[in-house]
């Protein structure tokens, strides 16, 4: 813990504190009008005053983002396994997987509301659509990069397709899957908030209402909480990554 603090916690905290102090100074001096950029101290006060409302919105967004992310993880990995069978399956369906990467979520969010209603289902669908592609792409890349000698070895020892998948291909793809999940977790939060812009609930809905009320401090306070949600999900994936890869993968070995 004594070594962890200066090595991992301090480096991101230092620039954060410097930027916050700088913003406080710049706005206090009147160089930027407070209706464009509020003072960080005002944002903190707004956070405290509206804590209950923001916490309730955070709960809604967290549920929707986590549900969308979980759905992306399961469907994305299953889709990648199917695509990794290669041949015509990959050629026929991969272009449609790319659709999820290129779809402008802000444009189709209203459609999702029409399809799923003005409730959390539309928000989950929005989080899912935005976050699934990185899972598919990274899992597929991992499944296709398995050491050919190990594939030969499994073949030689008469391993079934299921055994090869569970004992070789998925573990081999795990570092790639976790990389995809890191990207996907942040996108799920973005997708949920965009969905909430339309449905009106959660942090997205609160940002919309605060913006219409010109309560810029509240907009920033809500944005801060939304960012912290994304960071928390990212941190959870990092912990899972560290626990599962620390013994064997270069990306985690150096950190342990």
């Amino acid at each position: 813990m004594k070594r962890w603090l200066p090595k991992y916690a301090l480096p991101p905290i230092v620039p954060f504190v410097v930027i916050v102090l700088l913003l406080e100074f710049v706005v206090a001096m009147g160089w930027i009008p407070p209706f464009l950029l509020p003072r960080p101290s005002a944002v903190l006060i707004s956070l405290k005053v509206n804590a209950r409302e923001i916490a309730s919105a955070l709960g809604e967004t967290t549920l929707a983002a986590l549900s969308g992310f979980a759905l992306s993880t399961v469907v994305g990995i299953l889709a990648a396994i199917l695509l990794a069978t290669g041949g015509w399956v990959q050629r026929a369906f991969y272009p449609y997987a790319v659709f999820f990467q290129t779809v402008p979520i802000i444009a189709i969010a209203p459609l999702l509301v029409i399809w799923f209603g003005f409730d959390i289902r539309a928000v989950i669908a929005s989080a899912f659509v935005v976050s699934i592609f990185p899972v598919i792409a990274s899992t597929l890349s991992g499944l296709l990069s398995v050491d050919p000698a190990l594939t030969d070895l499994f073949h030689l020892y008469g391993a079934s397709r299921t055994a090869s998948l569970l004992k070789l291909r998925l573990p081999f793809a795990l570092p790639n899957i976790l990389t995809g999940l890191r990207v996907s977790s942040g996108l799920a939060v973005i997708g949920a908030i965009v969905g909430e812009f339309i449905t009106g609930g959660g942090l997205g809905g609160l940002i919309q209402v605060s913006r219409q009320q010109r309560a810029i401090e509240k907009v920033f306070a809500t944005l801060l909480v939304a960012s912290l949600l994304g960071i928390a999900l990212f941190a959870i994936i990092n912990i899972v990554s560290s626990l599962t890869l620390r013994h064997w993968h270069a990306s985690e070995k150096d950190r342990s």
Binding site: A149, D152, H155, L156, G158, L168, H247, W248, K253
Partner: protein, 263 residues
Amino acid sequence: MTPASPAISAPVRGLGVVVDTVEKTFVGGVQAVAALSLEVPGGQFLSLLGPSGCGKSTLLRLIAGLDWPTRGAICFSRSRTAQDVSFVFQDAHLLPWCNVLHNAALPLELAGVAKSERLDRAEAQLRQVGLADALHRYPAQLSGGMRMRVSLARAMVTSPSLLLLDEPFAALDEITRQHLDERLRQLWIERAMTVIFVTHSINEAAYLADRAIVFSARPARVMLDHDLTVRLPHVREASLRTTALFAEQMRALYVALEGGQRA
């Protein structure tokens, strides 16, 4: 746990191999093997020598069933099972997320052997290659020589009747390589299995095998089929490598290899 289970220490009968006018042409027209025939009696230790790219590794993969001949056939002295044949690659190719014990037990795990039995057998095999104190280490924590020992233990854990090795010790330093050669020869004597060993090292080929075949450049033709048992003893000490008798055998292989490269 027992130092060696009966399933490991019991000698097995080597699987005989017949390569019958086998030809292998890859997509793009590269002919790696052309009308090659040879017979390996069960229980023999055979070394295959030849210039780089002459088709030795291809032949080994064909025998393992990892690839198919374009023409001809490869037959065995009896029907083979998945546990009969083991393969050791040039690199160790271990599962990096599994520790040494679980890596060595992998073939048994894929064969559906109960966990306690497979771990007992893997541990016994790892003891035989001198890795008793590294059972719970991960491949990334091992030296190249140790990784290769795990690979050898994994290949031996099923008590194969045919062991195929493709330049397994090529990347190791000379001393580690000689130690592993000695260990391999000893294992072969204990198990009575058939061994086909591909190497670029004349010294290794002469020390390990009872028979050495020298191939020409691609496509492989047999330049020399040399019986090493006439002059070299069955049980071989490390000091054998420094004798005139051994040098004489090496010379015979060298002359054939040089001729094969020119051919």
